[in-house]
Symmetry: C2
Subunit: 329 residues, 2 copies
């Protein structure tokens, strides 16, 4: 069984770990009997202190490779901050994004390889050689795409300015209203090698509970990806990141508001209506089950969606694959 | 009094600390009454994991700025190695040069500034803004000069190969005979801004007990530097790095052998004979006092030259300045 997932950071990574646990342990699938390809969001990548940082790819790699800080869901376990302390002593900017020492080694390897001319796909494969995440991790594109957020700024010309997504997310905690969210470079970006084939040739395509705007949304913005999702024979099954009108994690509500959408499982499904076949919502959104969403033939199934532990997460993955099987019949 | 020193790493840095101690504490010089300019060797600079590392400049900066690891004489005090441990886990090469976390912050700031187009002079000044070393620290050149060492290698064409100085020094501990020592890029290098003026306009020029081949020697190899030393009105006073036929520190003997020279205070003075006016040797080399060296009019004075502590080092600096005063009379 070939499973392809589009994923952002923490939510996607945790779902994928549940998926692998389900496949290997519950389902008892032999190692060669399934292959999971993950198309990772790269639009929140950022260059800090000259280092190319790919937060979502690293979160997936660290989580599935056993190196993640479990409590926070991103970054390295047992992290230290010797470099960051010294950068602060130099007054190096930006000072609102703290890189850990262990994490910096990843960025050094990546940056050096990129500067030598390797593509982000090649770099990601090289890093995964160490981490052995148990999936094929592909960046959505080898071309730079960076999410920028337009916010009000009285001092700027026109009363608005655009800042990097990370500045909005990390420094401003997404508390300043986003007037627009732009994926700079998306129109010129090409899908990374293997991305479109992974969608077209899959048996199941999954959308983990990642941010629908700045994670899944930016992957969908790479030319060709959306068409591949519309055209694939595989059922596309999504897991709602919104439970009972609030994001399970992160600040997806602030992103949906920027798009003029309400924060609801229904609104998110509406963003995927042209290719989505199945939609898992939480029991608290059970009223959506059996209803039509955005006039599209989407099968909505309600079940517990809180990934409170690995077992619960594996259950959710099982639910998604069950729905795919049902739709494929 | 304007004092200009040409310096390598640990030996130069420790001497300079003694010099500043002498000037400020013993001599009771008012802060504005003296100015020390240090022309630092950059030929053992190396790019590691994409980071530009300037070992000699940093050793001077850390030592005079109060951040050096006192025991080893280079690198940062209270250093940690989170990044290096992870780089090893990735199998990143080279694996024979270990960078500490605190030190890496310096290299990140430097590398980012260089990549933005700042010169090494500008970068060094920016780093010194934090460290306040009490001297004006100038790189010998803003152009890249890298010392390479030719060693025997049966597998190489011609039976020899050239390796970066750091590989010979750090990985091979200078135990493999150096057939030749080359300063790659030296002929095309220009002295950094201020270097020639600092020599020409000085009241005293000092050569601390640094390696005569790969530290002082490479500075002398920058076109214009040697001529400036020959032409300056200031007496040029050197402190022998060789005591009783052996280097006080480091592996200068291996470097002198590569030049076909013996390891002696006399042989080192011979390398400077065209501009040296005064030469401090250790009491164990007292037989040289009053003798002619290389047929040049060099005044040789014997005194204790072991920098066993700051007080002893300040004494040596005092001896050098006394000799300069005597020669200037």
């Amino acid at each position: 069984m070939r499973i392809t997932a589009l994923a952002g950071g923490v939510g996607g990574a945790r779902f994928l770990r549940g998926l692998l646990t389900y496949l290997k342990q519950r389902h008892g699938a032999a190692p060669g009997s399934f292959a999971v390809t993950v198309i990772g969001n790269t639009a929140d990548d950022i260059t800090l202190h000259g280092l190319r940082v790919c937060p979502d790819l690293d979160t997936i790699m660290y989580t599935l490779g056993g190196g993640v800080h479990e409590g926070q869901g991103w970054g390295r376990a047992d992290e230290t901050f010797g470099v960051a302390t010294e950068l602060a002593a130099y007054g190096a900017q930006p000072d609102w994004f703290t890189l850990g020492d262990r994490d910096i080694a990843t960025h050094l390897v990546r940056t050096q390889m990129l500067n030598l001319g390797y593509t982000l796909s090649q770099v990601t494969a090289a890093l995964c050689d160490r981490w052995q995440p148990g999936v094929t991790l592909l960046p959505m594109s080898d071309d730079p795409v960076e999410t920028h957020v337009v916010i009000d700024d009285e001092t700027a010309e026109g009363g608005q300015k655009a800042i990097h997504f990370q500045e909005w997310w990390v420094r401003l905690h997404a508390k300043v209203p986003a007037r627009r969210i732009l994926a700079v470079g998306a129109e010129q970006a090409k899908p990374a090698p293997g991305v479109l084939d992974a969608i077209r040739d899959a048996d199941v395509v999954l959308l983990p509970p990642s941010n629908p705007v700045v994670s899944i949304g930016t992957i969908l913005g790479v030319p060709g990806v959306r068409d591949a999702l519309r055209g694939t024979r595989a059922p596309v099954i999504g897991i709602s990141p919104i439970v009972g009108g609030a994001p399970v994690r992160g600040m997806a509500d602030a992103c949906l508001t920027a798009l003029g959408l309400e924060t609801s499982a229904e609104a998110v499904a509406g963003l995927y209506a042209d290719f989505l076949k199945g939609w898992l919502v939480d029991d608290s959104d059970a009223h959506l089950a059996g209803q039509s969403i955005a006039g599209a033939p989407i099968e909505v199934v309600a079940r517990p969606l809180i990934m409170r532990d690995l077992a619960a997460t594996a259950d959710i993955a099982e639910g998604a694959l069950d729905l795919a099987r049902h739709l494929g019949e």
